[in-house]
């Protein structure tokens, strides 16, 4: 039970800091910190970045994960475990190692895909690949590479839970493979897709490792306040403004909590009894 100390106490303290002014304990400033950080010139761009990133990341996740999971489920049985494992393998590189790998992969000089990078996209140096406009896509690809496999496994598991009778009767009714996938299987795993979307959304808003590492690898081509989490860290570590940092982390915490609450209380996925 004492576990909650590390969830509830920091939250409460961050809330306290976000509503008070620096150097004046218990001096309430209401929403002042939120308004000030909201007007900070770095605030809107950071949330804009994250929004664009989220669009790419979530679309990529839903489309490709579902496509691959359905392909696996309808595919050649003997090969399914092998492919599922291969898709899943990059998950072992969660965190900074995956970004290091992708810093290499996206450098046209080094990449095994230099052909694609140079002839399709006409990139010749790393700096072009990570031009500011490309960053949301770049980060989404990196996150996808490590994270997609796990979700493919989950979706595959959900598909395997569909009873054979349902699929057989659909076939007897004359459904072809496409109809089977889109009209029968997909609606039956809808719940899991929503689950994935909410979790991925909540995690995506916290984006931090990718911009930090790509920023270091490119000698500062990524702004140190590219994502909201980075901005909050920057405010705490370099500007020494804990109250502003707390305000932004409360913003983010709020988004994460809302997403979690949606799932727990509306999703009916978890057993509370």
């Amino acid at each position: 039970m004492m576990l909650l100390a590390f969830g509830v106490v920091p939250t409460a303290y961050a809330l306290y800091l976000s509503f008070t002014e620096a150097g004046k304990p218990w001096h309430w400033v209401g929403l002042g910190n939120f308004l000030k950080t909201g007007r900070d010139f770095r605030f809107l761009p950071a949330f804009e970045h994250i929004a664009i990133y989220l669009v790419f990341w979530l679309v990529m996740l839903v489309v490709v994960v579902l496509f691959l999971a359905l392909m696996l489920h309808g595919g050649v049985r003997r090969l399914v475990p092998a492919f599922r494992f291969l898709f899943y393998l990059p998950g072992a590189l969660a965190g900074s190692a995956s970004v290091v790998v992708w810093a290499f992969m996206l450098d046209p000089q080094l990449s095994p895909w230099h052909f694609a990078l140079s002839s399709i996209f006409h990139f010749s140096v790393f700096a072009q690949v990570i031009a500011p406009g490309h960053l949301p896509v770049v980060f989404a690809v990196i996150a996808f590479w490590t994270g997609a496999g796990g979700w493919i496994v989950v979706m595959n598991g959900a598909l395997n839970n569909i009873s054979d009778e349902i699929i057989d009767s659909a076939k007897i009714d004359g459904a072809n493979a496409m109809q089977l996938a889109f009209r029968v299987k997909l609606p039956l795993i809808k719940k899991w897709v929503v689950y994935m979307l909410i979790l991925a959304f909540a995690a995506g808003t916290q984006l931090i490792v990718e911009p930090i590492l790509i920023g270091s690898a490119s000698l500062g081509m990524v702004s140190p306040f590219w994502s909201p989490n980075q901005l909050a860290y920057y405010l705490a570590a370099y500007d020494d403004n804990f109250n502003y940092a707390a305000a932004i982390s409360v913003d983010l915490l709020f988004v994460g909590l809302v997403a979690a609450a949606l799932l727990v209380f509306r999703g009916k996925l978890f057993e509370l009894e």
Partner: protein, 321 residues
């Protein structure tokens, strides 16, 4: 039973092909069989393309340390260099800043071990309590556990930093070990395990026989919980070992970094990505690739051996229908 999913890639003729079952339909007309081969082949090619997307970067990472920085740029990207270069990369990395790599490895091991032990020490009794005992506020506590389980951990990192700063624990190992001990996913896994596998009657019987609450937990529940202890320990280890943001925020001194943060240090301080400024640096790209390999090796090994546990765990995160 082998079914074939028709894909757009196979053209619209394939999409109209009836799904054929290997047995049960008797003899099949020949054109149908050959069409089946085509769809299977197309399936295989598409899957292979995606597998390449996922696996080629890993292969590249494995062979990168066998080359010199020069070879990385000017030779084919998936060719093997030499064992000599591999040793050279290792030496350069290993001797970097007085064996700092070892230091990072030790730190990683220390923080993860501490985190895992603490997480287990909290999650198992907590899951047990939530599942098998009655107390006021049980349902609220369970809901909060679920909430914080789904909420991404990194949302708590900055609040935690502020808290540790207040307690003057930042820059100490405690600042990461204590939060690592906070592992709501583990609590939930334990809760699911205890509530689904251990009948309350068993515990009640022991109490009737005069066992204290502690005895019941220690001598009945705990020995039965061995599988879930392994599962939670495994997940806690993977998440602690790969965690970047928390130690990145907590530590100001690079001697205290765990490996994932050490990687960032290598990139930014040793200019691994800047061959011009870093020309004299011992850490170039092959060394960096080597460092990444060292960082992922423990998790990777665990992955290979515990594949099945991982899959069960991911599905146990939520209940089945």
């Amino acid at each position: 039973m082998s079914q074939v999913v028709a894909k757009p890639a196979a053209g619209h003729t394939a999409a109209h092909a009836p799904v054929v079952r290997a047995r049960g339909w008797g003899r099949q007309p020949r054109p149908l069989a050959s069409r089946r081969v085509v769809t299977r082949l197309a399936w295989f090619v598409v899957m292979l393309a995606f597998a390449a997307f996922f696996v080629v970067p890993l292969i590249w990472l494995l062979i990168a340390p066998t080359k010199t920085d020069h070879q990385l740029v000017f030779e084919g990207s998936l060719t093997f260099g030499s064992f000599h270069s591999f040793l050279h990369s290792w030496d350069a990395l290993y001797s970097f800043q007085a064996h700092e790599l070892l230091r990072w490895l030790e730190n990683s091991a220390e923080y993860s071990a501490g985190g895992v032990l603490l997480a287990l020490g909290c999650a198992v009794p907590a899951g047990y309590g939530l599942a098998l005992t009655e107390f006021a506020g049980r349902k609220v506590l369970l809901s909060v556990t679920l909430l914080v389980m789904i909420m991404p951990f990194s949302a708590l990192v900055l609040p935690l930093f502020l808290e540790m700063n207040l307690a003057h624990l930042d820059n100490t190992a405690w600042s990461v070990v204590l939060p690592f001990g906070f592992f709501p996913f583990g609590v939930y896994l334990c809760y699911i395990f205890f509530s689904s596998t251990i009948p309350k009657e068993l515990l009640a019987a022991a109490r009737v026989d005069g066992a204290s609450e502690w005895d019941v937990f220690r001598w009945i529940a705990l020995p039965l919980a061995r599988p879930v202890v392994a599962l939670v320990g495994f997940f806690a280890f993977v998440s602690d070992w790969t965690n970047f943001f928390l130690p990145y925020v907590m530590f100001a001194n690079d001697r205290q970094y765990p490996l994932p943060v050490g990687l960032e240090y290598l990139i930014s301080s040793a200019s691994a990505f800047n061959p011009v400024a870093g020309a004299n640096s011992p850490i170039l790209r092959p060394e960096l690739a080597m460092a990444a390999l060292v960082a992922i090796a423990p998790v990777f090994i665990v992955f290979l051996f515990a594949q099945r546990a991982l899959v069960t765990g991911m599905l146990a995160g939520a209940t089945k229908e």
